[in-house]
Symmetry: C2
């Protein structure tokens, strides 16, 4: 057994980021993932004239691609044949779509295949007052508190640039599938795995929520720029350097002692106002001023080398262009260059999960629309029909 | 079998957010999670005089708590007894700490218990040039590209307020454990699961990376405020309402047609510059102006009701205080009120993963430091020694 999920078949009806990221990881760890697109294709394809925008390539590596019209009788029939042979089905339609397609899990799919793990990822989940709100990463960041806790206090709320709602949702879905696979090994039964982006964002608010519950609610600060979201830790900020910005944080007393040594400000250790996390947080601006005095005349990577060598957490603020060529991400196979038949060399993400007994070492570019129709339908439907 | 992970024992050496969030979900789904703290306790306890800051309570529900000094001979001996009976070990020390404690997975733990799943979560992983950098959520957001892609173009880079690096790391770790548990059922063997916050952030950059690779690199925009991170979609923004802000996005042609109907601007459908995603993205500011003209005179929830009822993704920007009392999150058991022996009523997050065959219906508050020493040591160490 070379990979964790060898032998498993996944039907992937999902689109854009949330579902496809989940099934990408399933594919990397050995599952046969069949991306089932409508004849029009994943809506993400529309973002570029080529119909293979870079983000589509990032999330569909190592998948098979077939097209089926689930609204047609033949399409549905073929799909149900695939369901009978599948271990996992992933979809991120808005609630109700699968039912309208007469492919409801409880009423139809579970009866066809009781071992099926049915994984559904939505914006708000299948229950609760917002269940029918259509939602995407941006709107879930808005209603989920990400925007109001991001940015500077004097500026309007702003989203996190990265697609965090989508990716947190997709990763929770993946985790849920892992737990359901384990449970199926013990019981023989499949189940429904349900995840929402909105739910997935809530625990990320731990620091601001803690400030709200443990602190003074009347002095509660919604947005804190680069300071700690609960204003409960210092030093904790992004400081100007000679050539950009550098993030520095002292999470323990040891970090603070090391930093003070590097700054040659040992006298601070004796001061009552800096004696522990709580008192330093109360004198945050003074703390930040000491640090800035030192950082502003040094280059960012030099600061990071000095601090990290001593053991103080620090990192440069990198641009997207710098991240795209990050030597560390390349060495860890998080940026993998592969050949695409029409786009040439493209860079796709590798597996975020490194398993010592399931090495990811093969990368096939995302399928064209319907690329594997013949292969999949021939092998999984016709042969099955002949067998019967 | 009432819950997915019933019968499994987890040793949790992790601190702060990343590891503890992973083990929280393991505990919710039925594993017996033993939080092993040093006699000083999880560093997160230092954030509040009570030693039970709210964020600690959020991430340690349903866990047992014991203290062990792993640097002492007796502490190590007791820990190894627990390892022999454990299914999963979770730690998020900086790389090298477990080796210095003479508790290295390959050299020591695996030999004691070949079925052990050893899950390690770090800032940068166990390989690569940054492996020895100490890191926390803030610094990983800096080096990982989150900051440079968050905020307004005319302002400095800013972090995402929520702890996204920690939580994405922790969720990937949970997923990796799920896959490893499945593989262990098939092979009988444990393995090492490795996850880093830095790796986990990289795929969230899909939109800005796509803009970089598919677009014009010279006109590449690092930060786009609330516009699409790749400037590849419109309408996609946060618009002013009479009483705050509202996020609106048209992900499909259908959304756009519905919105234009609601705005009573059907003539826009005939214009070349708004005919599809690509052309609307090229005329983003004009599109945003039409939308703003309509939103600015209406209350945010009213806008959301009008749009979502028709099927257009929209959501109000909520404050943290509003999120903390969100009726949808409460109904979905994402905000659960429980009794804490010293703090009284506290609100902890429920399970983000809803499994139809593993219902989460019991919530015990986070343990005090060493609360279950007697119970665990009596049952798992003394009885084991007597048995031998």
């Amino acid at each position: 057994m070379k990979k964790a999920l060898e032998g498993l078949v996944v039907l992937d009806l999902s689109q854009v980021y949330q579902g496809p990221y989940c099934t990408l990881q399933l594919a990397y760890h050995g599952a046969k993932v069949i991306k089932v697109e409508s004849p029009k294709g994943d809506i993400l394809r529309e973002r570029h004239e080529s119909k293979v925008p870079h983000e589509f390539l990032m999330f569909n590596t190592n998948k098979y691609g077939v097209t089926l019209d689930l609204k047609s009788k033949d399409g549905k029939k073929a799909f149900l044949k695939l369901v009978e042979q599948a271990d996992i089905l992933v979809e991120n339609f808005t609630p109700g779509v699968m039912k309208r397609l007469e492919l409801d899990y409880d009423e139809v799919l579970k009866k066809r295949n009781p071992r099926l793990i049915y994984a559904t990822a939505t914006a708000y989940g299948l229950t609760g007052p917002y269940q029918n709100f259509p939602g995407m990463d941006l709107t879930v960041q808005a209603i989920g508190g990400v925007m109001s806790s991001t940015g500077y206090p004097e500026m309007p709320p702003v989203k996190a640039g990265p697609a965090i709602a989508d990716l947190l949702g997709g990763t929770h879905l993946l985790a849920g599938i892992g737990l359901a696979l384990y449970q199926r090994e013990r019981t023989g039964e499949g189940q429904k795995v349900e995840v929402s982006m909105h739910d997935a964002l809530y625990p990320t608010l731990a620091s601001p929520l803690a400030a709200l519950y443990d602190g003074d609610p009347d002095n509660y600060c919604e947005r804190t720029g680069n300071k700690h979201s609960g204003l409960r830790s210092a030093p904790y900020n992004v400081y100007p350097s000679k050539d950009g910005f550098v993030a520095i944080i002292c999470a323990t007393e040891r970090h603070w002692q090391l930093l003070v040594d590097i700054l040659e400000q040992q006298h601070l250790l004796e001061k009552e106002e800096f004696k522990n996390t709580i008192s330093r947080a109360a004198h945050m601006d003074e703390v930040d001023q000491f640090v800035t005095e030192w950082t502003k005349n040094i280059n960012k990577w030099e600061i990071v080398e000095i601090l990290t060598e001593k053991g103080v957490p620090a990192a440069p603020v990198l641009t997207i262009k710098e991240v795209a060529n990050d030597r560390h991400l390349i060495e860890r196979n998080m940026i993998v260059e592969i050949n695409h038949p029409t786009k040439g060399k493209v860079k796709v993400p590798g597996s975020t999960i490194k398993l010592s007994r399931s090495i990811v070492d093969n990368y096939q570019p995302a399928p064209f629309l319907g690329q594997h129709n013949e292969e999949i339908f021939e092998n999984m439907i016709k042969k099955e029909e002949e067998r019967i």
